[in-house]
């Protein structure tokens, strides 16, 4: 914990140090001479999808389904040169949800303080790659088997962030404090997306440091960490049970003229570790004995995309071929999660092979062949189609 605090201090000190030197270079952004001073933009996207299940089905299963639709307006207000508000509402597939609503105050060029409901700044996926016009596949990378929102979704809290030029290298940072994870005290599962349902006074602390080692910014590598108490306030057994997680993310984008293509290689590796605790064998009666287990999970995805953006042909230019490998390993002895034939926790592997046609920078028709292999050797193959319309 102490070490974490030190870690959080480094970028802040850096930011304060450079701030006076660079502030004077501020150039006033040119604004439209048209009447009116409100600077706002409504943007967002709409989508619908189709799913075809190709194997592992019985006669009564529905295997062909238009299974997804939705519309997500994003509202952006630049309230002053220092104040910015952003919000997204998601309407679709039986849901009406405020995805985020965040107010940011730009203290100087290197420090911005934000507050509200914000996309999780843990790793790069949640904040940067999840918005559905950024995603290249009709589906998302794999989530944990318990849907814990370890690496995605939103948090309620405050963050401090900024980008720092360091010679030809660039660095950026986010530190945050938020409502933390909640432990299911009957079985050791952890849930991150709790928002207002906090179960203890301890707030989660976390952050990410991003490094862009090349002067052309083609590569960014991020290191993230977060830790919070997950047990209930004052509970005699679980009050100190904490969940900590780290992630490593990377993003490399470059035009390779030899193959007349833009390649994107990105991914994120997450590891979650919950302190050891004892749980009742029988969840409902809590009468029988207890057991404990090594409560650790890992989750990752890595994807490579190739778009022949440098060829002359208009059709091929807009095609993008992508491959994504997803993996999830659940605890060996938990009462939940993916199990192998012996009832032990195992690894789920999913491969996504995608072909996308971009009709504009934000609008695309996506298809994918998705194959999931479970630890008990069963597998499912699916065909997905989705149309995402950028607004």
């Amino acid at each position: 914990m102490k070490a974490l605090k030190h870690l959080l201090v480094v970028p802040l000190v850096l930011a304060f140090l450079i701030s006076p030197a660079q502030d004077s270079k501020k150039a006033k952004a040119k604004l439209s001479p048209l009447p009116g001073t409100t600077r706002m933009l409504i943007t967002g996207s709409a989508w619908f999808g189709y799913q075809g299940i190709l194997n592992n089905t019985t006669d009564t299963d529905v295997t062909s389904n238009f299974n997804d639709y939705g519309f997500s307006p994003v509202f952006l207000w630049k309230l002053s040169d220092r104040l910015f508000f952003e919000s997204e509402v998601e309407i679709g597939a039986g849901e009406f949800e405020l995805e985020f609503a965040k107010l940011s105050y730009m203290v100087n060029d290197y420090i911005t303080i934000g507050a509200g409901r914000m996309l999780t700044p843990f790793g790069a996926y949640g904040e940067r790659w999840e918005p559905n016009f950024v995603e290249k596949f009709p589906n998302s990378p794999m989530e944990t088997s318990t849907g814990s929102h370890l690496h995605r979704g939103a948090i309620m809290g405050v963050d401090v962030r900024g980008g720092l030029p360091l010679g030809s290298v660039k660095m950026n940072y986010v530190v945050f404090i938020s409502n933390g994870p909640i432990l299911d005290q009957s079985n050791g599962m952890v849930q991150y997306e709790n928002l207002l349902e906090e179960n203890n006074n301890n707030k989660e602390l976390g952050g990410r440091i991003g490094i862009l080692p090349f002067s052309n910014s083609s590569l960014e590598i991020g290191f993230s960490y977060k830790r919070g108490i997950a047990g209930n306030q004052g509970d005699s057994v679980y009050k100190d049970v904490a969940a900590s997680a780290f992630a490593i993310d990377w993003n490399y984008v470059n035009d390779i003229s030899a193959i007349k293509s833009t390649i994107t290689f990105r991914g994120q590796y997450n590891s979650l570790s919950v302190d050891d605790a004892i749980y009742p064998v029988d969840e409902s009666s809590k009468a029988a004995g207890t057991y404990t287990f090594d409560n650790k999970q890992t989750l990752y995805f890595a994807q490579l995309s190739l778009r022949p953006s440098l060829v002359g042909n208009k059709f091929f230019k807009n095609l993008e071929l992508s491959f994504r490998l997803n993996g999830l390993t659940d605890p060996q002895d938990a009462a939940w999660g993916a199990k192998d034939k012996n009832g032990k926790g195992g690894t789920v592997t999913r491969t996504d092979l995608g072909l996308t046609y971009w009709l504009s920078w934000k609008t695309s028709l996506r298809t994918a062949y998705v194959s999931t292999a479970m630890p008990d050797d069963s597998n499912t193959n699916e065909f997905l189609v989705s149309f995402v319309y950028g607004l």
Partner: protein, 89 residues
Amino acid sequence: MKKIISILILVGGIGLGAFTIQSCSTSAMVQAKSGAQLWGENCKRCHNVASPSDYSDVQWDVIGTHMRLRANLTADEMRKIVEFLQSAN
């Protein structure tokens, strides 16, 4: 876990070292980059690039701030990029 924290601190330390060596100034090469070049390098990293003509001057000002915050771009880069987009739309 301790190992990871040490790695993170190390990375921070390296950043700090790099910063000290550069002594407060962005290298001349980076400083000399035009808004157009910075746009070409930075705006394609996460998603496809929108054309400058897709948005008005005011809208680019709003988007610039949004991207500065969301993508953690440096303020200096963002000012140059927004100026370029506003001159090219």
